[in-house]
Symmetry: C2
Subunit: 314 residues, 2 copies
Amino acid sequence: MATIVVHSQTSPVQDAEALRLAFKGWGADNKAIIAILGHRNVHQRQQIRKAYEELFEEDLIKRLESEISGDFERAVYRWMLDPADRDAVLINVAIRNGNKDYHVVAEIASVLSTEELLAVRRAYHNRYKRSIEEDVSAHTTGHLRQLLVGLVSSFRYEGDEINAKLAQTEANIIHESVKEKKGNNEEVIRILTTRSKTQLVATFNRYRDEHGISISKKLLDQTSDDFQKTLHTAIRCINDHKKYYEKVLRNAIKKFGTDEDGLSRVIVTRAEKDLRDIKELYYKRNSVHLEDEVSKETSGDYKKFILTLLGKHD
Amino acid sequence: MATIVVHSQTSPVQDAEALRLAFKGWGADNKAIIAILGHRNVHQRQQIRKAYEELFEEDLIKRLESEISGDFERAVYRWMLDPADRDAVLINVAIRNGNKDYHVVAEIASVLSTEELLAVRRAYHNRYKRSIEEDVSAHTTGHLRQLLVGLVSSFRYEGDEINAKLAQTEANIIHESVKEKKGNNEEVIRILTTRSKTQLVATFNRYRDEHGISISKKLLDQTSDDFQKTLHTAIRCINDHKKYYEKVLRNAIKKFGTDEDGLSRVIVTRAEKDLRDIKELYYKRNSVHLEDEVSKETSGDYKKFILTLLGKHD
């Protein structure tokens, strides 16, 4: 379930005018910006952007970028983009950041449904005049390239069928590969990038039944290079993306100085989807509320905005 | 331009009833079947199939399969399928036939536009409850797998932009790889499977300018293993698919006993698209008309049907 508190029966024109007013004078009225945009769903935000363009012949997103700054700006900018376009931007930034951020590419490609990923590939064409796989493969080599290109190019079947025998065979292949460490990465890549998620979860369950440990925990024991880290991310996102996001939030908050990029990414992309479930997982795992931790670790307008997306009442 | 002579102002219901009549008694009236289906475009054929199902509660394609046989049946069956579904079937058959037919997979993936290939991937899900890449990768290994999976998973950008510097760099990469024979296949695969077709043609042109020979001719001199053969097919299909098809037809006809599968595939899949251009190329290259060659090399109802698709007047 979502966390944001959407105000219904709003008018895009009135919202656009109120935002224009908030931009007046020296320094924007950030409180007003948050009060409006933090309580509108994706459809409403698109309508506001359209109305603003029509009324003032100016792109609202560009104006926001010039009015606000820092983490607050980055979070609002991402919030304002259409979800597929936002993911295209996140992937592009991650590719340009190199191996430090390849987990973001694997995360997006593995969490999204087949049609959602396709929409991101289309958005990437429109925005960058290139394909995702073109940029990913130009920046990587070897098995890491094969894995990342396979993940972003996948068009997975989404039926419920499970082939139990195949799950057994492929759990064994994964086991052999992980055990040897220098194992048959190509087969692991094939399995991870082509099988349906339903089938993969069956394979991961089979692995756990046989070896008494989940494949992702097993990999964690050995994680060393970028390939294995990326593999680990993909497996966790396919297996249980909410648990994965809980951990991203935990790491972002625990980190010295807080990892605002990770924090914003999860909150902005999941606020309208399943952030409430992720918040509950966070509380179960850490015995503290996510909002309280965010309150402690962030400040200013960024803090207010993130807490609004987390569903905190004003 | 297309070759088939489409009769307009036909009625799907009348066509369905005429086909039903053609199936009556012992042995179908193949002449009637050809006279109807050989002169209907893809939309009309879909309407006939629908009307037939509604009138007689029977699938027209299944009925056709039971009424006719051999090469004629296979060609009519493929003709009756929706183009994306037909390509899904062709790919599936090719995968099951193994290395003998991988060029068909490469051909379809490389000739189709981005959206057409996507439609085939969807049709494959619907028909086989798996993804193309899942089946391709389960039957192949190593560089051949990487190349084929890359081709069928590609979602190429289709803009007109050309990066001349990139074309130069990547022409060199391809040259080095081809020269060494045991060269850097991974880079060649990356280039072939991710760049836009416009960019790739610029790269191939650059190669020819520098080395006085086209990359596909150069590869042909050395062609040995399945990987290089598949690479060769992909390059030819991207560079000039009409010329490629002309050669498939030439080889199919020259072959002892004729390669009906190749002949039918090209004629059925291109009859509504650009088979007239391919016919002209055939005449230019061979100084004989394609129809005359087909007449000599085939027989019976199969021959009549293929010649009808080639635009021969009854």
